[in-house]
């Protein structure tokens, strides 16, 4: 069996009778057993009764990030404080994927509570990048990105609060969607920053990614922030191409980026131009640099509130079991929200957030979408930044403004440097995911980086 099947391949394989569901699932189980001890992408395996997937027609594999509640399957958010916690219900995204024939293979490693950018804040140990085991695969959805990059599953779910899908996707040659805030229900997903948490997923190809959003998107009465906006068919116009689209180059995103990233980025912009897109240079989003400062007020503030429920009384362990990063965020957030400081920090941050949103609104008056790098730096080595919170935070400098505004962004592969993957993001206006897939698909068909699989 091909090691790197996509969802599209699997659907075709079933149709043509090339393999049975039993063969397919045994194949993934064996591959996980062989490779996961090295990669540490999966922290809980789900054992199936044979009948589970035989009962389902053409079952497809999925691995859920461990912040997704899975009924009767341990859910820890990769934190010691939740070891042994067995949710009595499924997250809405898990339910919807199960209804679409996705069967859970396991739970993916991540930075504990999704706090982090390198995967190293996991209490289960770091996940390794399959393109270079000494490098970080990015975080916080480290295990999700690696599970897909290494062919342990064609799909892994993830969350993007400040870049936690796009950053690891771009470091592992995979495709990651951060949908519009409210496009996919947050119900049952362990909350981090309630005002920016976005529920998305990682796949190997753009087509697969659109296929999955077709299943997960939509209003959910259990999540009052989920949008009552009509869901598009994200596959409908995916092959339409980019001819006539106006795509913007946001100039602030190109300041201080690594030369190999700038080179890969510029080549891809040229590719899009050659495919018929009109490239608009020098689009300015002047408050980009402040996004990171806004984020590190808003996020710890909302984290301190969301993590208040972890009291060790109804579930989980005592609060001393939080990891160092959760403790830092609880402390900063509590400080920012404390009496006398709220106006100076949280309210001030939410005002600057308005300016970040206005930047995007003005940009989308001029262009249909923005093309930008995801990361300013190449993959750090594991251990390199572990004692420096600020340097860790800075890794998300180009992904955070999207979360503050709530607009969607699709990360797609943009090439390699010395064998290490580079990604770019296509940023759109609210609920414009369909357009992002169309652009991403056109670029992917031309570049075909998904064929450059890791040597494992």
């Amino acid at each position: 069996m091909d090691s790197y099947l996509t969802i599209k391949d699997i659907l075709a394989g079933y149709k043509e009778g090339r393999f049975s569901s039993t063969e397919l699932f045994r194949y993934y189980k064996d591959r996980i057993a062989r490779l996961n001890p090295t990669l540490n992408a999966i922290i809980t395996n789900v054992d199936h009764q044979h009948g589970d997937f035989l009962a389902s027609q053409n079952p497809l594999p999925v691995i859920h990030k461990d912040v997704y509640s899975t009924e009767d399957v341990e859910t820890t958010a990769a934190s010691n404080i939740l070891r042994g916690y067995i949710p009595p219900f499924d997250a809405t995204a898990v339910t919807k994927l199960a209804e679409a024939n996705f069967i859970t293979l396991g739970k993916a490693n991540c930075d504990a509570f999704a706090h982090g950018t390198t995967g190293e804040n996991s209490d289960f140990g770091p996940t390794k990048n399959p393109y270079g085991l000494e490098y970080t695969p990015g975080g916080s959805s480290s295990g999700s990105a690696v599970a897909v990059a290494a062919g342990l599953s064609p799909l892994a779910t993830a969350t993007d609060t400040g870049g936690s899908i796009r950053f690891p996707a771009s470091l592992t040659n995979t495709v990651g969607i951060k949908p519009t805030y409210g496009r996919v229900s947050r119900y049952g997903i362990i909350a981090m920053t309630s005002s920016t948490d976005s529920i998305g997923h990682i796949t190997r190809t753009v087509w697969d990614n659109a296929y999955v959003l077709n299943k997960t998107a939509g209003y959910d009465p259990h999540d009052a922030t989920s949008a009552k906006v009509q869901v598009d068919d994200y596959l409908e116009d995916i092959e339409q191409g980019v001819k006539g689209l106006r795509l913007g180059v946001p100039k602030e995103y190109l300041e201080n980026i690594a030369p190999e990233i700038e080179k890969a980025y510029r080549e891809k912009v040229d590719t899009l131009r050659n495919l018929g897109a009109e490239i608009v240079e020098d689009i300015s989003l002047p408050h980009t640099e402040y996004g990171i400062n806004v984020y590190y007020i808003v996020t710890p503030s909302e984290v301190s509130s969301n993590l208040a429920r972890f009291d060790g009384i109804r579930f989980g362990q005592e609060r001393s079991h939080f990891g160092a990063e959760a403790k830092r965020r609880i402390m900063i957030g509590t400080y920012c929200l404390s009496s006398g400081y709220y106006d100076a920090y949280y309210l001030k941050a939410q005002k600057v957030r308005t300016l970040v949103i206005q930047d995007f609104a003005k940009a989308f008056e001029k262009v249909d979408a923005l093309i930008a790098p995801v990361s300013a730096v190449m993959q750090p080595k594991l251990g390199e930044l572990v004692n420096d919170p600020i340097k860790n935070y800075m890794l998300d400098v180009l992904t955070i403004p999207v979360n503050l505004a709530g607009v969607p962004s699709l990360a797609v592969p943009a090439g390699f440097s010395n064998g290490l993957p580079i990604g770019l993001q296509i940023i759109g206006d609210y609920f414009d995911e369909k357009l992002l897939y169309r652009i991403g698909y056109a670029l992917e068909q031309e570049t075909r980086y998904f064929e450059q699989t890791p040597k494992l």
Partner: protein, 94 residues
């Protein structure tokens, strides 16, 4: 020193060891300096944004719906007895 680590830890009900406080204190102050960069931005006439897609409070119909059973609701509690969750006393020790 701007952030009083003992006071904030108390507000957060977060038990921190002496070693943790020594590690966290300089880091937290570094982070506070980092976020204070926002003081550079003039926000005199800017309204704050709390909800990006413009939704306002949403109420559901006041109807009885199924929820978790009592067993499901307490099955993860470290200390439960006879269908109740056992906690420390609030007004007395123990």
């Amino acid at each position: 020193m701007r952030l009083d680590i003992d006071h904030v830890a108390k507000l957060a009900k977060l038990p921190l060891s002496k070693e943790e406080k020594e590690l966290l204190e300089p880091q937290l102050n570094q982070i506070v300096n980092f976020i204070e960069k926002l003081n550079e931005v003039d926000t005199e006439s800017v309204e704050p944004t709390f909800q990006v897609t413009g939704k306002t409070n949403e109420l559901r119909e006041d109807v009885v719906a199924e929820g978790l059973t009592q067993d499901q609701a307490i099955k993860n509690a470290p200390n439960a007895d006879d269908g109740y969750i056992v906690t420390k006393g609030v007004f007395v020790d123990g």
